[in-house]
Point group: C2
């Protein structure tokens, strides 16, 4: 081994500044799949930021195509992205063609953003990633669907292209990245507790027994707080998906069927048509009134809570919480999540805020895009 003194003698004592500024300029070609509510807001956010990102971060965002379920357009159809697209510039959707076009010659950085809610689209992720195309999505299907597909996605993303999905849990709130940072810095997850449904939070916050539960569901439905079919919220499945995503992030290979989900939909109403369900909504009232009475007897409040502990037990259910519990004080439709870890054992780390809506969901996707764009910087 060389002597330390000689190694140091070789170093200049005053560090010379870099001769030329490292150019941080890079181009990222982006294709969007699913120009629905979130997708179209995202496009607007990206377009509004293009000039700023180029100026401040040297990032040229090249929006080069949009694929809807039946039709797609590519930027060569319409190079002026801000222009209204003439219907004639659309062609029938072919996702392979779309991905190949966005990827280009394989020399530029390329990203596909999946804002569809389509399971078949998610099945393409492993191929896209293996071909060097980054993938970002707000959709829960890949991360909470079949374990083998998710593992194929992870394996494919080991080869350089990156897969990010912050907006799958609580939209734009920093949840997945926060858990990732805890784990990557060597912390150990002990438990996760959360309220991942703004709709169920709103219903629970308002349900004090003065009005029947069904009346609140009707009001939430009329206000657009629920899905068109409120059973999608009331079943708890969407919440369970988010729990599966966080469990897998923590390295626990869990699937949807591993989560004990308490549905608020009585078994007799699960398979009836929507209008019949809405007509028979008052069948929810007696069981909910019993749960509320129980909570009130314990001087607590009723909340819809998802939880995951370090024994791998995952539950989604109504729980009675005491007034001292932080979940007893959330604002109306807020989502909330708290991580208890080895380092945050006594007082957990807590993130709270609106966890749904096109603007904040799109912003979560956008933040993922920027995180990947950062990693595209090569050192000169």
């Amino acid at each position: 081994m060389e002597s330390c003194a000689s190694l140091i003698a070789e170093q200049p004592h005053r560090l010379p500044p870099l001769q030329a500024a490292t150019s941080r300029r890079r181009t990222l070609a982006v294709g969007l799949i699913g120009p629905g509510r979130v997708g179209s807001v995202l496009l607007a956010q990206l377009r509004a930021a293009q000039e700023r990102l180029l100026r401040d971060a040297g990032l040229e965002l090249k929006l080069c195509g949009v694929a809807a379920s039946r039709r797609m357009w590519l930027d060569c159809d319409d190079p002026e992205l801000n222009a209204q697209h003439d219907a004639q510039t659309w062609r029938p959707t072919d996702l392979e063609q779309f991905a190949a076009y966005v990827r280009g010659d394989g020399q530029r950085h390329a990203m596909l953003i999946d804002c569809s809610a389509n399971d078949a689209v998610a099945s393409n992720y492993p191929y896209w990633l293996a071909a060097g195309v980054h993938v970002v999505t707000p959709n829960k299907l890949a991360n909470s669907g079949p374990l083998s597909r998710w593992q194929a996605i992870l394996a494919a993303s080991q080869h350089g292209a990156r897969f990010r999905y912050e907006a799958t849990v609580c939209a734009g709130l920093p949840v997945v990245q926060t858990l990732r940072d805890l784990l990557d810095t060597g912390d150990q997850l002990l438990s996760v507790e959360g309220m991942f449904s703004g709709t169920l939070a709103w219903l629970c916050c308002h349900y004090d027994g003065k009005r029947p539960f069904s009346a609140l569901v009707r009001e939430a439905h009329a206000l657009g707080y629920t899905e068109p079919d409120p059973r999608e919220d009331l079943s708890g499945i969407d919440v369970a998906r988010k729990l599966v995503i966080l469990a897998r992030e923590a390295g626990w290979p869990m699937s949807l069927h591993d989560v004990a989900v308490e549905s608020l939909v009585p078994p007799t109403l699960v398979h009836v048509p929507l209008d019949e369900f809405m007509a028979r909504l008052d069948e929810l009232d007696a069981p909910m009134a019993a749960r509320l009475a129980e909570a009130q007897a314990e001087r607590g409040v009723l909340r819809h809570v998802a939880s995951l502990d370090h024994n791998g037990r995952a539950q989604v259910r109504l729980q009675v919480l005491q007034a001292s519990h932080p979940f007893a004080h959330t604002r109306l439709t807020d989502n909330i999540v708290q991580f208890r870890t080895q380092r945050y054992r006594d007082n957990p780390l807590l993130v709270q805020g609106p966890g749904a809506g096109p603007e904040v969901t799109a912003a979560g996707v956008f933040a993922d895009l920027l995180r990947i764009a950062e990693s595209l910087e090569a050192r000169a």
Copy 2:
């Protein structure tokens, strides 16, 4: 312009996977300045993670030196980092020599982590960054100190080397990055409200009039919750520094003197020696009792709140909050911050948890290191 059809015809329809996995392996040379409480825990965290990071992320962390205020060692003194260092391997601290050694030949990635609380160290950041050395720090001095120095640091970090400081505000809680993501995705900050001192939160939570305020300060001091001189907490200056850091992050060129800080230390006790201050602590009681009576008359609670609004008004002061305010329900020593933005206008985004302590502070620094390490990946 080429026809779209010919461009597309050139693309293979089935994307071929990359021929060889892009190698993500890269080496990051790290030098630590300030092996105190946070710095030594950080070293332990980094050492514990070295093997995992190399295996899972292809990141070789090369810990190549530690500089304390008077002495430093370089890895060539002692290549076995986990070994106890013989006192003879230390040499007098020379930061220029230290930085030059960590930087090496300028070809490898290099990072200096400043865990000192030393203002002179912060003055080196612009030179280190300009020389291509990344800088990460939990210290508030650079970001809340002289505006011109901070601007020099920002300017220097435009050239490739990166400067990160998540742990300057609320330790390991995701605060700075969360604000950054909001802004970078095009959101507009309307206001920040926070409780940035676990000590003051503990004092406010416990102060209900049954015991005089001075007794609580003595207890907190005995428990080690306060700085050795409790005036450092009670003055509110440390909280004001964190507010300045967030304001600058939002693009508002604010300095410490722009913050209206309400100190809980009576003017007559500001300059007396520590033991005299501790002996005269009961002089805090009458003014605090008056504030508490005021809060109780309004049926609220007393909290120490930092706030920043979009008119650039920055305040740190005791405030009376109603029970419905989320800050009224924090857990003992928790920090809390809420961002109100254009997108989070009605319900703000809120992060809460322990905001001090060596373990979580070091983890915040570690997460910054990983964020930079991610960006070192070159695309093949």
